[in-house]
């Protein structure tokens, strides 16, 4: 059958639009995973036992099962409960929660590694435990944790392709639409791969910028 890249221009706009959706989904899920990660980390470290244990169980399950399976659970599971969310939202929630769990592990490590003396100093100045956490410990931990979380964000970008399986109209699905019309999977999946790669490079550049900024303010 061979290759024919001339089919691409005709459907480039559809695929690029899908690319924009991918960026949007990635950013939304990344934000959810970042703040969710902080919340999960604080719960895992400081919450009373009865709340902590179920959370750790959920974390364990989320880290021990594939993302795709989790997406199925969230998308179809919410419908079963009666919440009928658009696939897009289910996708963002699924991605966000999945990576929130991984980020939470990183943040827990970072918080624990912030010098104990920092907490003591904050308390002696008169801050309560919560205030000390908020103003002193967590900001420092967050600074240390930006690089590995940045890597998670990039992983999130790649995993965002999975939401195409539950019907979200992003880059992968858009490529599939073009393939449906032209019967040229190689060309369009290659185009999609190239676009993912470009978005990836942009994210890495942003990450480097942020890391440099942090290094200066140390």
């Amino acid at each position: 059958m061979g290759l024919d890249f001339t089919v691409i221009p005709g459907y480039l706009d559809i695929v690029l639009l899908g690319g924009l959706w991918t960026v949007g989904i990635t950013v939304a899920a990344a934000l959810l995973s970042f703040f969710g990660g902080i919340v999960f980390a604080v719960i895992a470290l400081y919450a009373p036992w009865i709340i902590r244990q179920p959370f750790r169980l959920i974390e364990w399950v989320f880290m021990g099962t594939p993302l795709l399976l989790q997406l199925f659970l969230i998308y179809f599971g919410l419908v079963q409960i009666g919440i009928d969310l658009p696939a897009f939202v289910a996708g963002v929630i699924g991605l966000g929660l999945h990576f929130a769990v991984y980020n939470s592990e990183l943040i827990q490590t970072a918080i624990l590694s912030v010098d104990k003396g920092q907490m003591e100093a904050a308390r002696t100045v008169g801050l309560s435990r919560v205030q000390a956490l908020r103003k002193v410990v967590v900001p420092q931990a967050v600074r240390a944790v930006i690089p590995p979380i940045g890597n998670n964000m990039i992983a999130l970008l790649k995993d965002s392709a999975l939401v195409s399986v539950i019907g979200v109209s992003e880059l992968t699905l858009s490529a599939q639409r073009a393939i449906g019309a032209t019967y040229r999977p190689f060309e369009f999946y290659l185009l999609a791969a190239a676009l993912y790669y470009v978005i990836n490079l942009c994210m890495e550049a942003v990450q480097r910028r942020i890391e440099r900024r942090i290094a200066i303010s140390r």
């Binding site: 099962t65 795709l68 199925f72």
Partner: protein, 215 residues
């Protein structure tokens, strides 16, 4: 929770788990082979080999594994590659995880301190003799745990082949969710099996790591 349903369908999930295990083993072996080749390329004294190795890592870590699978399975026939879904899954995922393993293996080799290389060379060993007798034995011991992390990731990524209709755990879960409308129960069945596989693998890796630790 519909326990009756779960008791009725779990045999299908066990069969599917076996497919997942097979996928994992074959993909891991291919991944190790690609990883070793990639690491050798990246550490080669030939600039071309180093470039190709770096390009391999960059491209296969920088694009979604799902897309790589689709290119191979759906796009393959256009360039003369006809694979069935299982084969495409193993090769596609194997080459993908190989990119990650390349960095793991290369990292372990580089982490062996310079002095070891120097001591070996000053005794008169050639570059390859030093690698084989001094560096690699030490690096191999260092890379067991990080390769275990790659393996963990690999097992979970086998779920992607559900998208090309390989009848493994995730595909089976999706199928039964579709016919029973009980996503939670099906997630539980598939999830528990995945976690058992991952836990057992983790213990195996930990055992191997302890066994090869230098006295």
């Amino acid at each position: 929770m519909d326990v009756d349903l779960m008791l009725r369908v779990y045999p299908f999930f066990l069969e599917a788990a076996w497919v997942t295990i097979q996928l994992s083993v074959l993909t891991a072996l291919l991944g190790l082979a690609c990883g070793s080749l990639g690491a050798a390329a990246r550490l080669s004294r030939f600039a071309l080999a180093r470039f190709l190795g770096a390009a391999y890592v960059s491209v296969f870590r920088g694009t979604p594994a799902l897309i790589q699978l689709f290119i191979l399975y759906f796009g393959g026939p256009q360039v003369g590659i006809q694979l069935d879904a299982f084969e495409a899954g193993v090769i596609g995922l194997g080459v993908n995880v190989g990119a990650y393993m390349t960095e793991t293996i290369r990292g372990a080799i580089i982490s062996i301190e310079k002095g070891q290389r120097e001591a070996a060379r000053t005794l008169g060993l050639s570059r390859w003799q030093a690698m084989r007798n001094v560096i690699l034995p030490q690096a191999a011991r260092m890379m067991v745990r990080p390769l275990g992390v790659n393996l963990n990731m690999l097992i979970k990524s086998t779920a992607l082949v559900a998208a090309i209709s390989v009848i493994e755990l995730t595909y089976t879960a999706q199928r039964y969710i579709g016919s029973t409308y009980k996503p939670f129960e099906m997630f539980l069945l598939a999830g528990v099996l995945y976690m058992i596989i991952i836990y057992a693998t983790g213990r195996g890796v930990a055992w191997l790591d302890r066994k090869v630790r230098i006295v």
